[in-house]
């Protein structure tokens, strides 16, 4: 067992337990905290997979911005809200069964597939550091998608402001 492998299992355990915690949380505020754990665990996983830039971006955007945003939203709405106890009605049973089955199918597929052996000699960063390489890719190969995404962000921003603005102020 190499170090990275042990680290991977630890991280995976953390991520999954946080996710399960999230599902079982009754109070919304607890859920928001546990999702932060999932995000940070994922970031660690990215770092482990040599994707430093993505990992950092994950911490900044998910663990930082999105979690806080969710907390704000909770505070602005019904922050005392409690999730009612889980009931085994038809819909939930079907959901559970479906998710389990899906999980099984995917896991079995993963197991059965002969994954290509990665060629460790290739440096995906092309000799640069990872952020530099990603920057080059974004501004060269993916320039147009990048611009489109920026446009999307603007639209989303404006849309979010418009939607969230209180109607009463108009009157």
């Amino acid at each position: 067992m190499s170090g990275p492998l042990i680290a991977f299992y630890v991280i995976a355990l953390c991520v999954l337990s946080c996710a399960v915690l999230l599902l079982s949380a009754r109070r919304v505020i607890h859920m928001a905290l546990s999702v932060g754990g999932v995000f940070i665990g994922c970031a660690a996983l990215y770092l482990l997979l040599d994707a430093e830039f993505v990992g950092v971006a994950q911490i900044l955007i998910y663990a930082g911005a999105i979690t806080i945003l969710i907390l704000f939203a909770i505070m602005l709405t019904n922050h005392e809200a409690q999730e009612p106890p889980f009931r085994w009605n038809v819909r939930n049973v079907l959901s559970a069964l479906g998710c389990l089955l899906l999980c099984a199918v995917i896991l079995l597929s993963i197991r059965r597939t002969a994954w290509p052996v990665p060629d460790a000699s290739v440096d995906i960063n092309g000799g640069n550091s990872n952020p530099v390489a990603i920057g080059m890719a974004l501004f060269k190969q993916y320039a147009i998608p990048f611009e489109l995404v920026s446009l999307l962000l603007i639209v989303a921003l404006v849309g979010a402001v418009l939607l969230a603005r209180s109607r009463k102020e108009d009157e």
């Binding site: 991520v15 999702v35 994707a51 052996v117 990665p118 890719a137 974004l138 921003l157």
Partner: protein, 108 residues
Amino acid sequence: MANSGFPIPIGSVLALAAILFCIGLFGVLTKRNLIMVLVSMELMLNAANINLVAFSRIQSKPNLSGQVFSLFTITIAAAEIAVGLALLLAFFRLRQSSEVKDLDSHRW
């Protein structure tokens, strides 16, 4: 990087992503609170991101595309959560509720 060979079995990473995805899906389908649903959706997106990053590293000709795509996904997830939460606020203001079952204006 200096690592020779890849230390983590690809199957394990993908399995983690798959389990995370299914947990997220289960949350989306069963949680009553809209915020919980949105958050569960984030779990699913994260699972997809893990896959992307893993595939970026692990294929016969590794390249950066996976990581770039995961960046795009993160960006879009941010936009999505912003709009989603804005919708949530508007909905809450309208119905004084943040429960999914109250989103039923398309009922027969």
